[in-house]
């Protein structure tokens, strides 16, 4: 059972929280302009990270607030916890790992997703 530090309440057992999947996937502002495939990308597709994964958690049995966790999926080590809307600078070693992961993911599907959609959304809602 993970031991997670809620940014508002402090360290609590995992049983007080619910997992919310990969973080920083903003809801597109312009759904009508997306193809079905692009929309499906937003609704269903998630990275399967080996290494540091940024994910959403909600302290459902506590303050009921959503926040972000950077967790190593291999060891379950929690690298950082940060509030929705905050930016996370990972320590150098972790950042390299995380970057390697993110580089891999978009490389597979460069043409499918209009860069502007994702970027605009991410810029606006970093941390969501």
């Amino acid at each position: 059972m993970l031991y997670i530090k809620c940014p508002w309440c402090g360290e609590r057992d995992e049983t007080e929280y619910h997992y919310g999947g990969e973080a920083h996937i903003a809801r597109p502002e312009n759904p009508d302009e997306l193809t079905d495939a692009e929309w499906a990308e937003y609704v269903f597709m998630r990275t399967n990270t080996k290494g540091v994964h940024r994910e959403r958690w909600v302290h459902s049995d506590g303050c009921r607030r959503w926040f972000n966790v950077a967790r190593n999926t291999v060891t379950n080590e929690i690298v950082a916890v940060y509030k929705a809307g905050e930016k996370l600078e990972l320590p150098a070693a972790e950042a390299v790992k995380a970057e390697a992961e993110t580089k891999k993911a978009p490389a597979k599907k460069p043409a499918k997703k209009p860069a502007t959609v994702k970027k605009a959304a991410v810029d606006k809602k970093e941390g969501a």
């Binding site: 059972m1 993970l2 031991y3 903003a26 809801r27 959503w66 060891t75 929705a84 809307g85 809602k125």
Partner: protein, 1006 residues
């Protein structure tokens, strides 16, 4: 019977305190400090069980939690417990135990005939012998195997004991209280950190309890006693004996199973919780879990009287019980010589040590020789004799590669073999913590390599088998662990001085040869005792393609018994790797999983599992009235809802028929307080609802209500309900009873993560308001009496509006909404007025013959109108169109949650399953909910299923059975006949509109 094998020694027993017990129906005597196993050994009883498949006689093999053979059913009646290890059961007066895997008795086991038919039970026998014909599997083979192999028997009665759980934090958690663990706890304790030290044994001391080591010039147990005394004096140290750390989970979360009262005897301490599960969260962990001695795999190595060497030593030194009259030691390493020496000193005849190594010139072998023990090197035991007890062995010289016998056989009479194949560090918890192991060639075992958590390993668990180094490692690790958790400077206290004895390396010969090749001839080389897996089975598995250790394990069942392979795993994979011609590290180990040893269900369940505390129960303020008026109740989530109110002599059918008619003809009242209610406020509330619901909300006037669907982003319906505008920026949302919590979570998720700029606040007010739904043609008259100052006319108070006013003397919100199709009002009052309002309604409604109705009638009435229940008629794969409710989508809205998915071409396919009504050909026949539907009566196999029945009832108002169903292309098939299938019964049904009653909707205005 007297204790023939009891000596005058025994550091752990009190011979003056006699304890009487019964084993397999026979009375015996033991002494205080005995385990069941040690008392049996003292009485010369070694035959304690039968093996799992072939029912071979088996004896006590070990003295600890790794025991695979001495598996016991303890006590009878409600406190009976199966599958306990005799080696861990502390003796108490009147103890009753029996072997589990034998019938009718351990001495005469009829199923031992399996031994003769053992060719049927080769590796993978589950998949081979009993495969055909298939029909035999469920009816004959499986029950037969279960009975043959069945270990213990579960008690039928309720468990009379209590169990509890404790949650605790500490800086340093030390697991295992042998020399290394004690040292670590001392070092950490001195720093002032909160320290927990736990051990599965009755006493602290670990291996020192069994041996005759010297520490600081005095018996090691004296050092143990002073260490324990020192720890007991520290307020910051918690000591747990009889406490087995059985799970090591993420983030240093460790679960410990403490047996608190078992040693007093069943029911002797009713005031105490019998077992306790501790949940520790530790900043740092020190694993000092020791090691298990490894059996040698040789011909017929499973006869009673064959025991692990150090266990024999423990029985003699600690319990004063000699394992036999005359024994030999069989080893591949130096440690077993210590056993030979101690046993000779204790008075047992040990004429010989048989050593697989060509040379045995270490310190200990030389001491053994001085004691007059013959040391035969380069030799092995190649055969054993004796069915219920070992009688003799044959030894021979073997080739240096361990492949074959090279010399003549020599027969020696003996009743005991003390074997040692080296040591396996108990890396189970380390592995559970996701630590990575490495294989050590010299020690021939797996050792902890890379830690994954904040953890250190010390002592034998780390492969440090010599006492002095273990003590030093413990001290160092304890001090560092404390420092890393913020206590002390990390300087290790001086370790006490043990006598250093240098041991020479072992020689790993994984299968000792016999006169036939392994797997041929009558002799068997057992690897997993409890599951009867032999070296031949593993070789066969490898030949049949089980090249992964995980496949081999499942095919042969090695390591899958109650002992979880503590003795067999390394031997098994070494044999597999030899067969594959691979190095052991290439083959690797199987995964170690919790629990380390079995934990009783009661302990896992904890307190209150037998009572009302297992799950909260929610009741409405009117619950007492329902109870007094004979309602039966239905659980809906945690809520207890009134189901129906039977009058004298009525069954459910009669009561529901009466209640259903009463509402349509007069007036009915339903307690709808469980409905989810969410108060939504803020300047952006309307805009938010516009995104959450499929229909338009911005222009809803204050005082009006609207029914809405919520979709998930995939376009599928996930909840519904009526939301009312209380003020410009204030809404009252209702949800399904079961969906309330999920909907609030959903709203919060979007508010916090997608639209944090919106100013909206959501509060659950489900329990703040009591809701009374009053419906039927007479409802208006009753409301007018209840609230004379309010105007209930259709003009002043139309359908889908709400009004605030004084009802029965208390402030109320009245909503004109209907789930029955009839004129209906929902009165909401603060929960403390709920019962008052209900009673007032009943009082004033008496002249209209007001009828309380429950959830069953509610379901019937709504089904008559074709109103869906989310979660019953839907399952998360329906769009609003599938439910025939296109009208609820606001075409003008640019966006709402689910819209983009919903407008895909796919959702317009006509062959999607759609909501329809069904009428049976026979009006009296009510369909089964869940019945599968086909277009044709007779179908090819597999039958093309086109849908299923979601709701089915008898409709008293139509005098006809009705049903709702999801049917492929259903909307285009109105009027067609299709077929419902329920366990062989076929019913012809007609597809109709789901609105069965009052299709024009004329009744809702009264």
């Amino acid at each position: 019977m007297t204790e023939k094998f009891r000596t005058s020694h025994g550091t752990g027993v009190d011979r003056s305190s006699v304890i009487n017990f019964t084993f397999n129906g026979k009375a015996y005597r033991g002494v205080a400090g005995d385990t069941l196993a040690s008392a049996l050994v003292a009485n010369g009883v070694h035959l304690v069980g039968r093996s799992f498949k072939t029912h071979r006689p088996r004896g006590i093999l070990t003295c600890g939690s790794e025991e695979p053979n001495a598996i016991i059913q303890l006590e009878t009646g409600p406190r009976s417990e199966p599958n306990l290890r005799a080696t861990q059961i502390e003796l108490y007066e009147g103890l009753i135990a029996k072997s589990v895997n034998c019938w009718p008795s351990v001495n005469f086991d009829v199923l031992a005939v399996n031994g003769l038919a053992s060719r049927l039970f080769v590796a993978g026998f589950y998949y081979k012998t009993f495969m055909d014909p298939k029909s035999m599997w469920m009816t004959v083979y499986e029950p037969m195997i279960r009975r043959m192999a069945g270990l213990g028997v579960l008690p039928r009665e309720k468990d009379p004991d209590t169990y509890d759980h404790m949650n605790e934090f500490c800086e340093v958690m030390v697991i295992g209280a042998g020399p290394a663990g004690l040292a670590a706890a001392l070092a950490a304790g001195k720093s002032g950190a909160r320290v927990v030290l736990c051990d599965e044994q009755v006493e602290f001391g670990g291996s020192l309890l069994n041996s005759k080591e010297i520490i600081d010039g005095r018996p090691a147990l004296e050092w143990v006693a002073s260490a324990v005394a020192e720890l007991e004096a520290m307020d910051n140290v918690r000591l747990l004996k009889r406490a087995n750390a059985f799970g090591y989970y993420d983030h240093n979360y460790i679960t410990v199973h403490e047996r608190r009262t078992d040693h007093f005897g069943p029911g002797a301490k009713p005031e105490l919780a019998r077992h306790r599960v501790w949940h520790f969260r530790a900043k740092q962990v020190v694993l000092a879990t020791g090691s298990h001695e490894r059996p040698l795999v040789f011909a017929d190595n499973d006869r009673p009287g064959i025991m692990l060497a150090a266990s024999g030593q423990a029985y003699a030194n600690r319990y004063g019980a000699l394992p036999g009259k005359r024994g030999v030691v069989f080893t591949n390493n130096d440690s077993a010589y210590r056993v030979a020496i101690d046993l000779v000193d204790a008075g047992m005849a040990i004429p010989m040590v048989i050593d697989l190594r060509e040379v045995a010139d270490g310190e200990l072998p030389n001491v053994a020789r001085q004691k007059g023990i013959e040391v035969v090197t380069g030799a092995g035991i190649v055969a054993t004799e004796g069915r219920k007890r070992l009688k003799a062995i044959e030894i021979a010289q073997i080739s240096s590669d361990g492949e074959k016998i090279t010399g003549a056989k020599r027969r020696i009479e003996c009743d005991t073999i003390l074997m040692s194949g080296g040591w396996n560090p108990a890396v189970h918890l380390f592995s559970q913590s996701i630590g990575k192991l490495r294989y050590d060639e010299e020690k021939a075992c797996f050792l902890p390599n890379i830690s994954s958590q904040k953890e250190r390993t010390v002592g034998a668990c780390k492969g440090t088998f010599d006492l002095q180094s273990a003590l030093e490692e413990g001290m160092a690790a304890g001090a560092l662990a404390a420092q890393d958790s913020g206590f002390g400077k990390g300087k290790a206290p001086a370790a006490p001085k043990a006598i250093v004895v240098v041991e020479k390396p072992l020689k790993a010969i994984w299968v000792v040869p016999t006169d036939h090749p392994v797997g041929q001839g009558p002799r068997k080389h057992f690897v997993d005792y409890q599951h009867d897996v032999t070296a031949a089975d593993i070789m066969l598995a490898a030949r049949e393609g089980m090249h992964s250790v995980e496949h081999m394990k499942r095919f042969t069942t090695t390591g899958m018994a109650t002992d979880q392979g503590k003795l067999s795993n390394v031997n098994g994979l070494a044999i597999l790797s030899a067969q594959l011609g691979k190095a052991i590290p290439q083959v690797g180990t199987t995964t170690f999983r919790p629990p380390y040893t079995p934990v009783t269900f009661g302990a896992l369940a904890g307190r209150g599992i037998n009572g009302d505390l297992a799950d909260p129960v929610r009741r409405t303020p009117m619950y007492s009235w329902h109870l007094e008026h004979g309602a039966t109740f239905e659980p809906v989530g945690q809520w207890q809802r009134a189901w129906y109110y039977p009058k004298a002599g009525e069954d459910m059918h009669a009561a529901v028929t009466r209640e259903s008619k009463a509402l349509r003809d007069g007036v009915g009242i339903l307690d709808a307080s469980t409905l989810g209610k969410i108060d939504i406020q803020g300047k952006d509330a309307a805009q938010f609802l516009n995104m959450i619901y499929t229909n338009a909300w911005l222009k809803l006037p204050v005082g009006s209500c609207r029914y809405g669907f919520m979709l998930k982003e995939d376009g599928m319906v996930f909840d519904d309900g009526v939301t009312s505008r209380l003020g410009e920026n204030h809404f009252h949302m209702t949800t399904t009873t079961g969906g309330a919590a999920g909907v609030l979570d959903w709203l919060e998720e979007y508010l916090q993560t997608e639209w944090p700029d919106l100013e909206v606040y959501c509060t659950s007010v489900t329990e703040e308001w009591s809701t009374l739904s009053i419906g039927g043609p007479k409802a208006r008259e009753l409301l007018e009496e209840l609230a004379p100052e309010m105007d209930f006319s259709n003009e002043a108070f139309p359908f889908m509006t709400w009004r605030e006013g004084d009802v029965a003397g208390v402030p109320a919100r009245v909503f004109r909404i209907s789930f029955t199709g009839d004129l209906s009002y929902e009165i909401n009052v603060r929960n403390w007025h709920g019962l008052h309002m209900w009673e007032k309604c009943m009082e004033l409604g008496a002249k209209y013959d007001i009828t309380p109705y429950g959830t069953e009638t509610m379901h019937v009435l709504r089904a008559e109108k074709g109103f869906v229940i989310i979660g019953q008629d839907t399952d998360g794969t329906q769009t609003p169109q599938d439910l025939g409710m296109d009208w609820i989508i606001a075409k003008s809205k640019a966006d709402f949650i689910g819209r983009r998915s919903f407008v895909r071409e796919d959702t317009k396919r006509s062959d999607r399953k759609q909501l329809v009504g069904l009428m049976t050909e026979n009006p009296k026949e009510v369909l089964a909910e869940g019945a599968q539907l086909t277009y044709e009566r007779v179908n090819p196999t597999p039958a093309p299923m086109v849908g299923h029945v979601t709701s089915a009832y008898w409709s008293p108002n139509l005098d006809h059975s009705i049903a709702m169903a999801m049917v492929k292309d259903g909307h285009n098939r109105m009027g067609q006949w299709i077929y419902a299938h329920d366990r062989g019964k076929v019913t012809k049904v007609k597809i109709v509109s789901p609105v069965f009653y009052d299709q024009k909707g004329e009744r809702r205005d009264g």
